[in-house]
Amino acid sequence: MVSRRAFVGAGAALAGVAAWSKTSAMSLPDAPIMEDASTQPPLAPSAGPDYNPVVTPNGWTLPFRMNNGWKEFHLIAEPVEREMGEGMTAYLWGYNGQSPGPTIECVEGDKVRIFVTNRLPEHTTIHWHGMLLPCGMDGVGGLTQPHIKSGKTFVYEFVMQKSGTFMYHPHADEMLQMAMGMMGSFVVHPKDPTFMPVDRDFVFLLSAYDIDPGTYVPRVMEMTDFNMWTMNTRVFPNIDPLPIGLNERARVRVGNLTMTNHPIHMHGYDFSVTCTDGGWVRPEARWPEVTIDIPVGAMRAFEFDAHVPGDWALHCHKSHHTMNAMGHDVPTFIGVDKTSVAKKIRQLQPDYMPMGTKGMADMGEMSMPIPDNTIPMMTGWGQFGPLEMGGMFTVVKVREDLAKGDYSDPGEYEHPPGTVAYEWTGELPMAAKAPDAPVKTGSLEQKSATPAKASDHSGH
């Protein structure tokens, strides 16, 4: 979780970049590199029309410079080491030191020039997903432009024709490059600052990886069976929360660049879907939701007024997407008495712990050693116990005393007395009960496993 101190540090780190952008001349704009996977504070515009900047949880925003009326950005496509969570680093491809790449922000009507330098071992391009632009700027390698070879820098120039939420990602060796983590968010603010204003504006991308426990590089040929389901290439319990002041209006923009849909569910509120990557949804076309399904290759933004304080879960509703690495070939051990088996196994494997006989929750409680560079399947702790979650899970923290623009983690919610579910300790009425039915099991009799006496084995 991000601390206040981390924010101060990160802000100072980027201050130099802002100073530079005012003084530099016609040369290629510098490409700032981010080395931290924690949430960076919103980046207020240094020039041009004003807007309320977005916050990218566990991400950052790319600074720009103005050059003769053009907003200039510099993206570097390169191999990166992304900390997906504490104790787990993935060797990915990304932009400017991280995956996902930095969020690009600008304003409707802006003239934008984006330099793209390729430091990958193979060629790449960038497609500006959802943007209205000249065909030659669409970034489809071979179709609309030559590929950007290794070591080359290309320039994209176009005018922001509409506001909204977009993405960028390669359109060259696309499957592999996206499986390696190449993507970023692109937010275009309305020219009219009074159009759909919010107090807090969050943006994140959903991406999925298949990284074998104990390894670092995604298996890029995997099409369906991913084991790292991420928000901004980060997994619970290390996805930063979304802090929102009480009664503030909040917007959450979610893009999906995985190979499956994600029903994103938020607790405690009903919200309105106000934007897709096609544009803003007219007020009369909106409908209330508590879960919004994000299709593959699509973006959805939803808004709500944060009028109920608390710690509200925000997560994908596919329950296996709120898990970290797990094995799909583990039998169901529910109801299996492992006492005597455990004794036998411990003679060979002294550190063996029987698990799963009551369910899998013991996995969340016992923190047993697991392979290097691996995050437990279900993990995380809250004030009342283990959360038993992973993957695409984070918490919307609505607090009364949160200062404007403060995005640091406000900690655990202090529930008012008498507002938390409690244990009943009084008498229980007798429950009605059906007569016992005979139990039939599929157990195989173990006759064959006992050898003939003559063979002089030591016996059981």
């Binding site: 426990p213 109801g335 697991i370 002089d456």
Partner: protein
Amino acid sequence: MALLLKRVAVVTLPLLVSGCVSADGGFEPQFGFDRVSQETTAKLGKETVWIQDRNASGHVRSRVRSLVQNKTISADTAVQVALLNNRGLQAAYAEVGIATSDLWQEGLGVNPRIGITASRLGVARTIEGVISANIVSLITRERRLDAAAAKVAEAQLGSVEKTLAVAAEARTAWIEAASAWEQVAYLNRAKASADAAAELASKLGGTGAMTKADQAREQVLYAELTGRTAEARLAARLAKERLVRVMGVYGQELDFEVPNTLPNLPRNVRTRNDIEAEALRNRVDLRLAKIELEALATSYGLTKATRYVSDLELGAGLEVEQEITENEDGSTSKKDVTSGIVELAFEIPIFDSGQARLRKAEFGYMRAANLLAEKAVNVRSEARSAYQAYRSSYDIARHYRSSVLPLRKLIEDEGLLTYNGMITNTFDLLTDTRERINSTTQSLNAKRAFWLAEAGLTSAIYGGGETPSGSGAMVADAGGDE
């Protein structure tokens, strides 16, 4: 070729023995045997006597009992007990006694007492070799004598080889038995892992989480391993019985154990580049064959050995050898050879054909000489093979120990971690464990191969291995009537 010719006056003998020969070449009354016995007794506190009366018999019996009863015996103890107690060995010694008695009648006061010892590896091997050398020396001294001496020589050859063979067999049997019990122990562990899997499968069947076929798969594995374990146990018992036979023990003496494990690999192995020379110097069968060849020459009337030719040259034929002789007379300086080559050459005496009474005798002699040369070539090869087996089996065993097993351990350890993370399941974990145990048994086999090769080294250098000597008959056939 000329460089390899060398006149050798006396066959090299181990120091212990040559010290027993007086300067004028005559016999000292007790020859070397008492001294060997004394020295080994002082050094190792162990001794083996040729049992010639009831006193000795009782003494040996109580020695054996104290060595084995209620004990877990080492390989050296097994060898020593075998040398003390093996009745076949005593029978061979008795043959020597019979032959010597005959010789005694001829007025030669030779009463050999065979001191044999077994102790720590290496030392014991040396002693076994020394004994052989002693007996051979005795024969060397007597080779000028007549048929009675030849019979003594034959009997002594028999007992020397028998001694070495019994020692080798005891050591081998001990290695096989200890290794077999070690295998049983590891199979029992594999069985335990299969047992756990079988029980877990059956419990999963009970809760309705596993099909009957999958349960049966785990259970049949356990059942098969149980069978394999029983087979291994039987093999171990039979191996121990083989050891019991070599050691010649029965009754209460049977109450001993063989360790459940072979000794660890030594830290390093001896480098023996001179293994061929060692074998040529020490092989009992080879040296005896040579003496017999000389006896044969005598019986043909080829009385004077004029020069020596090495086994390497003899194959080139008689003519080449004669040419060399002529050259040798003209330029003596060319005969000089380095000692290294002398060490590597097995010298065979050549008799001057000019003095042969019969052309037939010369051919007969050369036939025997070539057979001896063939034997020498084989001995060299056997020595090299034994050394290669020793070195390679060491490297192989060490490879299993330091490469294969750590990898298996790593797999198993990582398997436990992935199990902990619910990434793999209990059956995967047990499979990893079982595979480690399988690799361990392979490693045990490699260790066993090393210790057997180590034992084989002794036989290759001193004799008593599986190669039959076969040359004893030659003297009897050819030497009798001439």
